[in-house]
């Protein structure tokens, strides 16, 4: 019998005024009872609209039906057959734009909580153990992957399952890409990311950290000297954009990447036990409206800032962040200054931030992206007293690989030109995907690109053999 409640089972969470002072996970996860009750809301539709909304086509009704029956390990196996990192996706996918948007139950009331169920089954098997995935016998072919974010990991995992010897080269000292340096502990616990990465390593994937492709070794050397038959470039979009307004180099102005890396990767919230410091003042302003901005704002609050603003030039409806993050940020006391754009950052005699001048905006005609373009309201400038400014207006692909790989075609903004279906680039044997190709996007799109490239690389190497 279906559960006809119009609402999702609510997610147990830490209370807002408790969690905004700690770095423990905000959402605590469903109990088995909640998960089974929620799963019973699924109507098991024949045409499976939800599956078409998922970039990696998780077989949603199938796994949800197993959850309803209490067969959690079997449910997890169904999810994992198409998604290598479900505990992560269940937590960070923008479900409201993907699977849950297509859900029939969402037409009257809330959709089935697909993301929460995905998280539940993934966590369940992580805790209770699971069968190791099947790995084909080694086929003697070597493939290199550049970058250990979601795109690189999913490509590496899929190739390893097919019997390839895969080495992932990672510039930083810890694998995971944005999952470890960007997304904070309270949203995606790092112990969990480590476990998900360990399952990929258990497939036989070797991860070599502290290796910068283009510096420590070039892409061509991987192909010509180190015996790799193909390379998948998944180097992400790690280059921080600045606003190019006066005062951006003052003390107390951070790129979101720096701010989040210090806190998440280097654990500055645990200074001086961890040696990396960070300075968060009394009043912080975060510029931008995406997931990165929400994460930075919520970190600033947790680091002790009394007042934290989100300054975003469009309106509430256009905020690109996941709905849940915006909701959580508001609950935690983050103040939203929407339709507002900074014009300059003002410093004191020592070169430290003391204020930021902003101007009010209004929405004009739609621009090329279809979103209404924000335009300045003349004369509406005013200043906010702030001592910390975090710029979260987007990241572009790092130019290093492009600069050191002759013949690799790139877009003017730095994205690598790659075929959408295969990841094939302008260079033979070189494939690319994830944020390095699309610019900053989502975990699941990056994973999807990694999977497609794995299939294409497999085909390329098999054909070459013949």
């Amino acid at each position: 019998m279906s559960n006809m409640s119009p609402n999702k089972n609510p997610m147990p969470e830490q209370a807002p005024d408790v969690r905004n002072k700690n770095f423990s996970e905000v959402a605590l996860g469903y109990s088995p009872e909640m998960a089974m009750d929620e799963a019973k809301r699924c109507l098991n539709c024949k045409n499976k609209p939800c599956v078409s909304g998922c970039p990696v086509n998780v077989r949603i009704p199938e796994f949800v039906a197993l959850v309803a029956e209490g067969k959690f390990a079997e449910a997890a196996a169904v999810v994992k057959s198409t998604n290598n990192l479900p505990a992560i996706c269940g937590r960070v996918c923008p479900q409201e734009n993907q699977c849950e948007r297509q859900c029939v139950r969402g037409k009257k009331g809330e959709p089935v909580a697909i993301g929460r169920l995905e998280r539940f089954v993934a966590d369940y098997v992580m805790e209770h153990g699971e069968q190791a995935a099947e790995v084909s016998a080694a086929n003697g072919h070597k493939v290199a992957v550049v970058g250990s974010g979601p795109a690189g990991l999913s490509c590496a995992g899929d190739l390893a399952k097919r019997g390839y010897a895969v080495t992932v080269f990672e510039a930083l000292h810890t694998p995971g890409g944005v999952l470890v340096y960007g997304i904070p502990e309270f949203r995606l616990p790092k112990a969990l990311v480590r476990k998900e990465i360990a399952t990929v390593e258990n497939l036989g994937v070797e991860i070599l950290t502290n290796t910068v492709i283009g510096k420590s070794i070039t892409l061509d050397e991987l192909l010509e000297e180190e015996g790799f038959e193909a390379v998948f470039v998944a180097s992400g979009a790690g280059l921080p954009n600045f606003q190019k307004i006066p005062g951006e180099n003052l003390l107390g102005v951070y790129s979101a990447n720096e701010f989040l890396t210090r806190i998440n990767l280097m654990k500055a919230y645990d200074f001086p036990q961890h040696a990396t410091p960070i300075k968060v003042g009394r009043v912080a302003a975060v510029i931008g409206g995406g997931n990165v901005a929400m994460d930075a704002a919520r970190c600033a609050k947790r680091m002790g800032a009394e007042t934290v603003y989100i300054v975003y030039r469009r309106s509430d409806a256009e905020l690109p962040a996941r709905a849940e993050e915006v909701h959580h940020a508001k609950e935690e006391g983050i103040l939203f200054r929407l339709l507002t754009n900074p014009t300059q950052i003002i410093g004191d005699e020592q070169g430290r931030v003391k204020a930021m001048e902003v101007v009010e905006m209004e929405l004009g005609e739609p621009d090329a992206s279809g979103r209404r373009r924000p335009v300045k309201k003349p004369g509406s400038e005013y200043t906010l007293d702030v001592d910390t400014v975090i710029i979260a207006i987007g990241n572009s692909p790092n130019p290093l690989i492009k600069a050191t790989t002759p013949g690799l075609e790139c877009q003017c903004w730095g994205g690598i030109v790659a075929d959408e279906e295969t990841g094939k680039t302008s260079r033979e044997a070189v494939y690319a995907g994830g944020d390095a190709v699309t610019g900053a996007a989502t975990v699941i799109l990056a994973m999807g690109a990694g999977k497609k490239a794995a299939a294409a690389i497999h085909e390329y190497i098999q054909n070459k053999e013949k």
Partner: protein, 280 residues
């Protein structure tokens, strides 16, 4: 893990180490740097590559004990290992067209200037190497230095070696005596590099400085190392560390270098009590 194969204490504040890191050694060029992390709780810090041996697979670092991480690093011995060691990072120095050069090193820049002087000397350039120390007891690597240049000048702040004054004093004397340099390379504290640039600006001598900004990743990902050069924002870790000194906004760079002064004090206190703890 990256083992420490050799350690030499050069003077009470400066230490020399050879680290086994074959991939880094294979690619290293003068002017480039590495980022290291001692252990799981450690900070990532940049250090200039002071030398390398491609056959042995070793990279030399020379560091001055200035803060928590460099003090901890100095506490390690041969046989210990570093958890992370990545490089070579940054652009290699460009020595094109330099036939007569003054290489000026002050403070902790002395050791870093050495590979530059040596590289130029090996390329056949005439190198005037000017280095400065606080007093004669702190003078290091004198033999290596002499072997890496045509003319070595060692200055001391207190004159205890007979040559009192700053490195800029020596450079000014050389310029006044008619030395004509294709370029001056200045490496050291920001104040010193700024002073050298002021000297050479009037004489229009191209001057290259090596910017030791605060860094986190060292690969262009965080922007922490940004500085203004010729009115534009640059990242020291990928666009540098060498820059045209006459274009660098030194005042801004000096302000930025003081960002974590208070935190560094805190870390040092922690270091002091850890050392205290060990003795008991």
């Amino acid at each position: 893990m990256f083992p420490i194969l050799k350690k030499r204490v050069l003077n009470p504040t400066v230490t020399y180490m050879e680290i086994l890191a074959p991939r880094v050694a294979k690619k290293a060029q003068p002017g480039q740097f590495i980022m290291l992390r001692i252990d799981e709780n450690g900070e990532r810090i940049p250090l200039t590559i002071a030398g390398y041996d491609r056959e042995e697979g070793t990279v030399t670092i020379i560091f001055q004990k200035v803060g928590y991480t460099t003090y901890s690093l100095d506490g390690l011995e041969e046989g210990d290992s570093l958890l992370d060691f990545v490089g070579p990072l940054g652009r290699a120095s460009d020595f094109d067209g330099m036939r007569k050069v003054a290489v000026v090193g002050g403070g902790l820049g002395v050791a870093i200037a050495y590979p530059q002087a040596k590289a130029l000397h090996d390329l056949g350039a005439e190198v005037d190497f000017i280095v400065g120390f606080r007093n004669k007891d702190l003078i290091i690597l004198e033999e290596e230095f002499s072997a890496a240049c045509s003319d070595l000048t060692i200055m001391t702040d207190d004159g205890s070696n007979g040559r009192k004054g700053f490195v800029t004093t020596a450079l000014q004397e050389k310029l006044e005596a008619g030395a004509e340099y294709d370029a001056v390379i200045a490496i050291g504290p920001l104040m010193m590099m700024k002073a050298v640039c002021e000297l050479t600006r009037e004489k229009k001598i191209p001057t290259i400085v090596s910017m030791n900004s605060v860094m986190v990743d060292g690969t262009g990902m965080c922007g922490c190392c940004r500085l203004t050069v010729g009115g534009e924002t640059k990242f020291a870790c990928v666009d540098g560390p060498d820059f045209d000194g006459h274009q660098v906004d030194f005042d801004e760079a000096m302000a930025r270098s003081r960002m974590y002064f208070d935190e560094e004090q805190l870390s040092m206190e922690k270091h002091a009590c850890q050392l205290g703890g060990k003795k008991q």
